[in-house]
């Protein structure tokens, strides 16, 4: 599905900050992978590079067999729109749009007609158990509900790859488990590749593979599936 080789990333905010120092990583189609590591170790940076939200300085990144290098903003937007769904720690829903409209938004940017869009959005809201909340604004929803709306939004365009940056970081443990169950189920039934960044070992343990990042490098990989 995707392969990274020797990825380096340096931020330049006055002082140079070498965040990723040569990441080699391959993720197979349909895999459910977690990334763990100390705060500031470069997990989000790595995920953003994989999600084409950020670019890298050195190395090669191939997604679905295509080399992702020096993409223009337009090309990146097109790839994101076709391949990738995002789930964020802070949900990142648009506050003035209802749950349904938020879920439907990725399809709008793919040019899907409104009726089809809303039908599908309702279907996905149903999948995450929020059909009755379709017309509510994000501010009227609980944290867990908001994250489920965000998950529905990430899934609606049927991306091959779902990236989740600490999706349970703002949720209590019960709600966290519900969210992970949901992601796991989608991974199983739809075969979507998933990469989630998490701090919680009990969550990471439920994935196929744990990638440990220390100081900008992959220190070791735990393969739970074949263990």
């Amino acid at each position: 599905m995707l392969e990274l080789q020797g990825i380096h990333k340096t931020y330049d905010n006055g002082a140079l900050l070498h965040v990723l120092k040569g990441i080699d990583l391959a993720v197979e189609e349909g895999e459910f992978v977690s990334i763990m590591g100390a705060s500031g170790s470069g997990k989000s940076t790595l995920l953003n590079i994989i999600g084409l939200l950020d670019n890298y300085d050195e190395g090669t990144y191939t997604l679905d067999g295509k080399l992702m290098k020096n993409l223009s903003e337009k090309e990146a937007a097109l790839m994101r729109s076709r391949y990738i769904g995002f789930i964020f720690q802070s949900f990142n829903l648009i506050n003035f749009k209802t749950a349904l409209e938020n879920v439907a938004l990725p399809l709008y940017y793919q040019g899907v007609p409104r009726r089809k869009r809303n039908e599908l959005a309702m279907e996905y809201l149903d999948k995450v158990g929020l059909k009755d909340w379709a017309t509510h604004l994000p501010t009227e929803l609980s944290g867990g509900q908001r994250q489920r709306v965000a998950i529905a939004r990430a899934l609606i365009a049927r991306p091959k790859l779902v990236l989740a940056d600490e999706p349970t970081g703002a949720l209590d443990s019960t709600t966290s488990q519900e969210v992970i169950d949901l992601l796991r189920e989608v991974n199983r039934t739809e075969g979507m590749t998933m990469i989630i960044v998490t701090h919680a070992p009990e969550i990471a343990r439920q994935t196929d593979k744990i990638i440990h990042i220390t100081d900008g490098l992959i220190s070791h990989v735990e393969d739970l599936k074949h263990a």
Partner: protein, 420 residues
């Protein structure tokens, strides 16, 4: 992608953020209202003036005497001299290009209540004239008739009174024609009422506040058979240029009255053409001013839109980041913001037009109601001009959206998303 969906998404973004949208639109609406009201008043004023100028004979001229300023022919400087009937005859016989000429005597209204009716009275100017006077300076009759030749021949005690005198001495609806008023203690029959033909171009006293008498009667009233005149008015055939003609007239009268040919101050002579030219120049300046201020207001409105858009784009960084993460390309984002700007400025502009036109009506009504003169400032604005202003505003509005739109995509999606 400019389909219904696009506009629905746009409209949703605008209406879901009412405060933000109203704030953005306000500057534009304000600019439009200002422009419409100002341009409307300016053009109304100009139109009214033009209408008034049409009633003034540009070929008319007036002249009156003044103290001499140079010693000449044995006379000292500072001598007072007066125009007489002989001067009238002299000009009439020597200048075939003068078609009509007449003299006038007048008395100012500063000496207590010289005009009285039923105990009601006021201080008004008196003006003794011949009938031809009306055709040269275009006094406008409201009712009855003007002074005629029989009045002059028989020195009748008749008069024509101005509109304001009617208002002061008569009840509303009362007909002054045929009534008697006391002028300097002598009874005169009112035969007509009049008003100024032009509010802005006046010679001597205003017709509105003047009692017009036959010149012969007025001379008798002051108890003398003298032939002096206070002013001579004339009208040319319009073929000869008026400036050299007035200079020749000056020299003719100077030599008759022993005044130095180089004495500029001893006589006032002015043509209507001069007055019209000066007034036109004044209002040309006014028009330029209106446009300057109008364009300034529009620019200020556009800068305001740009500023508020910048602020809102900063507020919307996260939203824009989300949209980009969900697959919106920079072009789509720019187009969205420009179109938002376009829709907002257009709507705000139209609201501004409606408000402006309404306000203009209101101003017109207030002016008409409070103005007791015949002068109606008729504020109005043409449809074409309104559309031009709207077009300018929309172009400015879109231009104003450009900078914020650029700013919106200059931030990387990932950075926008990280901000909380």
């Amino acid at each position: 992608m400019f389909d219904i969906d696009f506009w629905q998404e746009l409209w949703h973004t605008i209406t879901a953020n009412k405060k933000r949208s109203v704030l953005t639109a306000f500057g534009v609406t304000w600019g439009m209202v200002m422009l419409i009201v100002m341009a409307g008043c300016g053009f109304g004023l100009k139109k009214s003036l033009n209408e008034q100028f049409e009633s003034v004979d540009a070929n008319a001229g007036i002249l009156f005497s003044n103290f001499t300023t140079e010693a000449y022919d044995g006379y000292k400087a500072g001598r007072w001299w007066q125009l007489t009937d002989d001067d009238l005859e002299l000009l009439r016989s020597q200048y075939p290009e003068i078609k009509r000429i007449t003299g006038e005597i007048s008395q100012g209204g500063g000496l207590g209540n010289n005009v009285v009716r039923n105990g009601q009275g006021g201080a008004y100017s008196l003006r003794g004239i011949e009938p031809v006077f009306q055709s040269i300076l275009s006094t406008k009759m409201l009712s009855g008739r003007y002074i005629n030749n029989i009045d002059i021949d028989q020195s009748r005690k008749v008069c024509v009174i101005g509109r304001k005198i009617v208002n002061a001495l008569y009840m509303p609806g009362e007909d002054p024609i045929g009534t008697t008023i006391q002028v300097n203690g002598i009874g005169f029959t009112v035969v007509g009422t009049c008003t100024d033909a032009s509010e802005s171009v006046n010679i001597g006293s205003e017709d509105d506040e003047t009692v017009i008498l036959p010149i012969s009667t007025m001379r008798l009233m002051f108890g003398s058979n003298n032939t002096t005149l206070d002013m001579i008015v004339f009208a040319t055939d319009g073929k000869a240029p008026i400036a050299p003609l007035t200079e020749r007239i000056r020299q003719t009268l100077y030599s008759a009255h022993h005044i130095s040919p180089t004495d500029k101050g001893a006589m006032w002579v002015m043509s209507m053409q001069d007055i019209l030219n000066k007034t036109n120049a004044l209002f040309g300046g006014l028009t330029i001013l209106i446009w300057l201020v109008g364009i300034g207001t529009l620019l200020a409105g556009a800068v305001g839109v740009s500023n508020i858009m910048l602020v809102t784009v900063r507020e919307r960084r996260q939203e824009i980041g989300i949209r980009r993460a969900l697959g919106a390309s920079p072009r789509v984002i720019i187009r969205q913001i420009l179109c938002e700007s376009f829709v907002l400025t257009s709507l705000a502009g139209i609201v501004g037009i409606v408000l402006g036109v309404w306000l203009l009506r209101l101003v017109a009504n207030i002016i008409t109601a409070s103005s007791d003169s015949g002068f109606v400032l008729n504020p109005q604005i043409s449809f074409g001009l309104t559309m031009v202003a709207l077009a300018i505003l929309i172009v400015l509005g879109i231009a104003a959206g450009l900078l914020p739109a650029q700013k919106a995509i200059s931030v990387k999606a990932v950075e926008a998303l990280q901000e909380e």
